[in-house]
């Protein structure tokens, strides 16, 4: 009924700086443009575009408006297990189907999703030591709507060497999947037939709190640690995810797939995570008066435990549980990110950077619970992703 995960993220940075010392900022307008392109091996490709405009006010406050647009297309895992025979799946619309070759990860290669979001934030400087950040967003997909708001307090201590931060946030989401909400654990039906669907739409809510600390360690390094807890409730299943029903009785085809059913997740979920970051300045020299650059390596390690309702598949002879999902994102795995960011600034009012990162997610490909033919299949294929980012900032 609950899900907890521990996130430990480490980042380090070293910088090589060339250039002049920045003068006092008398230019209150900022525009940032960013693009991210990530390419998953044999799965999805995503492009995200963000434009952010910020205006600093005379009293130290700042207001900003941000626009996000992203597109994801490619093959997304549908939750079924790989099999030694070709598999056919009914699309969410119920009118067509797609096929997956034998011994390949079942993935919906007709998948395409677009999202558009607006967010508004206001940073209020209450006094020299206290700042309040208010934020809100609206995000829209063709099958999803999200509204959210939050506030964060940042209190400085010890002559600004220590910052305590805490905040709360709430979110309301409406899910209206293609074809309607599948009835839990009902069998997928052939295309063109009556599909086992219930309501056209439903809701999920999420609220959270976080507590953290920024600490200057010495004149070259600083660290941050954050703990966040949140509670999600409502419809938390993925309406497009299936589970394979595996034959565990017939010795002649032990481990073969007999059926596909729609998943069902608990309607309550608790999430907690710890985030830690460390920044270290390595070396800097003034060599040029017109520009400066920095080079920032980035390492990240992530570990999560499995949700207690995660199962890679269901066995035919065992009664259907109350909740089950084979979504890889709920499994136990480690993830690693390695990459760097290279930034360059010009004339103290514009800057651009590029980032290249490699992200990999490694889980248990051959779990002990696999039976018969399943032992020959990769039940958690390693995810390998190349992430490219570009950012341009202009200030006047």
């Amino acid at each position: 009924m609950s899900k907890s995960s521990i996130r430990i993220s480490l980042s380090s940075a070293c910088y090589c700086l060339l250039g002049t010392t920045a003068t006092a900022n008398t230019k209150p307008w900022f525009v940032d443009l960013g693009i991210m392109n990530y390419i998953e091996q044999d799965r999805n490709t995503g492009i995200e575009l963000i434009v952010n405009g910020k205006r600093e006010l005379d009293d130290g406050d700042a207001i900003s408006l941000q626009f996000d647009f992203d597109v994801i297309t490619g093959a997304t895992p549908n939750g079924a297990s790989a099999s030694n025979v070709t598999q056919s799946f009914t699309m969410a619309s119920g009118s067509n189907s797609y096929r997956v070759n034998a011994n390949e990860l079942p993935a919906d290669n007709t998948h395409m999703d677009t999202r558009m979001a607006f967010s508004l934030s206001y940073d209020s400087k209450v006094n020299d030591n206290l700042q309040l950040n208010y934020s809100s967003h609206i995000s829209m997909e063709f099958d999803y709507l999200s509204l959210g708001a939050g506030v964060e307090f940042l209190q400085d201590f010890n002559q600004h060497t220590t910052t305590l931060l805490t905040g709360i946030n709430i979110e309301y989401n409406r899910v209206h999947p293609v074809g309607g909400i599948p009835l839990p654990f009902t069998s997928m039906q052939p295309p063109g037939t009556l599909q086992p669907r219930g309501e056209a739409s439903t809701t999920r809510r999420q609220s959270g709190v976080h507590l953290g600390l920024n600490q200057i360690i010495n004149k070259n390094s600083l660290m941050q640690i954050k703990y966040a807890w949140s509670n999600a409730s409502g419809y938390l299943s993925d309406p497009y995810k299936l589970l394979s029903i595996i034959d565990d009785q017939n010795n002649l085809q032990l481990g073969s797939t007999l059926d596909y059913v729609y998943e069902n997740r608990p309607d309550q979920r608790y999430i907690q995570n710890i985030y830690s970051a460390y920044k270290l300045y390595i070396k800097g020299d003034v060599l040029d008066l017109s520009y400066r650059y920095y080079f920032q390596p980035h390492l990240r390690f992530y570990h999560q435990t499995a949700a207690n309702f995660y199962q890679h598949s269901l066995n035919k002879s065992i009664p259907i549980p109350d909740y089950a999902s084979s979504d890889f994102r709920l499994a136990k795995f480690n993830a690693y990110t390695v990459g760097f960011k290279y930034g360059k600034s010009y004339q103290e009012n514009s800057e651009q950077s590029i980032g290249i990162e490699y992200y990999t997610q490694i889980g248990d490909s051959h779990p002990d619970t696999a039976i018969g033919l399943q032992k020959e299949q990769d039940l958690f294929p390693t995810l390998r992703t190349l992430i490219l980012t570009w950012n341009y900032s202009y200030n006047w």
Binding site: S139, A228, Q272, Q296, T385
Partner: protein
């Protein structure tokens, strides 16, 4: 679940306590490096937003940056 939560919070409080006890004496004129934009946490909101959205869509925990759901139906 609750024992795990208590352990996590206890570890966090202990870390905060240890850090707070450290004698960090950095004078204002020694903070030129620390004041650089690239030395700030969350210095680039756009990159932070894109990173949070990416990791939220790939992993079960939601970012660790204080945002609740990431605003997308991808998880």
């Amino acid at each position: 679940m609750y024992k795990k939560t208590i352990r996590v919070i206890s570890s966090l409080l202990l870390t905060i306590n240890l850090i707070s006890c450290s004698n960090t004496n950095i004078e204002p004129w020694q903070r030129d490096i620390l004041s650089k934009k690239e030395m700030q946490f969350n210095s680039n909101k756009i990159i932070s937003t894109m990173d949070s959205h990416f990791y939220y869509s790939k992993e079960a925990s939601s970012g660790g940056q204080g945002f609740s759901g990431g605003g997308c139906g991808c998880n």
